[in-house]
Amino acid sequence: EKWDMPMAYPATNFHSENAAEFAACVNEGTGGELEIVTHPNGALFAGNDIKRAVQTGQAPIGERLLSAHANENPLYGVDSIPFLATSFADSEKLWEAAKPKLEEVMDSQNLVYIYAAPWPPQGLYFKKPVESVADMQGIKFRAYNAATARIAELAGMAPVQIEAAELSQALATGVAESFISSGSTGVDSKVWESLTHFYDVQAWLPRNAVFANKDAFNALSDEAKKVVMDCGAEAGKRGAAKSEELTAGYLKTLADNGMTVSEPSEQLKSDLSKFGETMTQEWMDAAGPDGKEIVDSYKAM
């Protein structure tokens, strides 16, 4: 059996490399009974389509940034509630709290959850020093989904909608003056060509999840199922470790290229954690009792 695995990010991205290792682990572990072939870079299906493709069996397995589907079900956005879980350790806890519910949601959509790995934490990029939310007033801030638009709104920034492909140019020409993303995005798009300050606020750690089509998965032998799940568990751990290891490197690269990389000031930190309370409440309202249960059990950990 051959499983084509669509993935959205370039082959050299650590998620893609991790998934390639996962595929190799499965191929070896099943002794060729199941062969997973990875297709990075959106070469098979674009990121937006991967989940649906797997749901409908157009692809038997795939990897996707899970929070992209928060419009469909707020639970998918649990890893992207701003300023709720702001470190690798907290993000891991939040994920443990959320996983049972997410597995249920996926199961109801004909998907089998295999593993997930976090991106490096999201930080704020600016063109000037920012000591508090008051300093953000009126800045043109790139919003690419509901949550980032809400952050702009809370902070009094002007949200500008810029697609990923246009980000570099938008920054270079001043269409956008600020955005929130991981250190890796900053390095990848050589953001120092346009911006000057990076604040490591660790707003959230979004995850890429790998899932299989339920029918395809159920058609596997029990041994093969176990191999897939074991390799997945390993890949999840490896991905998180790699992400943490890379984070420091990304921030150093930003600094080496002349950006001011720093922790947020106390004032900024407390301003942002207030946003966090507001947006966590808003998320719980949207996600209903399941959402409240997840947040409560996370806070109890």
Binding site: A143, N145, Q161
Partner: protein
Amino acid sequence: MTSTIRRVLDAIYDSAAVLAAICLVLILIVIVLQMASRWTGISFPGSTAYAGYLMAASSFLAFAHALNRGAHIRVSLLLTALGGQRFWGELWGLLIGTAASTYLAWYAVKAVYWSYAFNDISQGQDATPIWIPQLPAAAGAVLLAVCFADNLLTLVLTRRDNIRSSAIDQTAE
């Protein structure tokens, strides 16, 4: 009787094309509003997605009209070489065209159904249920299939289809 059907079908193809043209104007308006919203600081969430939906609607709704106006292109070398036997070449082309466009239409309609059944929602800020923008595209795909079948039938009955190249601009012989 046949002429009534002819008139009705042509009217449908052309009205769909007018809708398509309106969608093109709407793309322009959405993009202008998007820029204006940025200059003024008023937010217009989901604008890029709306422009994309309008483009899909514009393209698909104009498919049938474009076919009858000879705008869809093909390699007509063999057809010309066939000379008096051209009918058979046209027949083959329309048969394949009808089959392929019916296939496209079938899955376009099915995609709308699944988008609806799955509750597939746009991942952008617009959060539109995807079946809504997919609906005009599916309608356009169905119309293209109807138009191909229409041409096939007309060809078989009258030995001449309804495809007329618009010779207004730049005919080069």
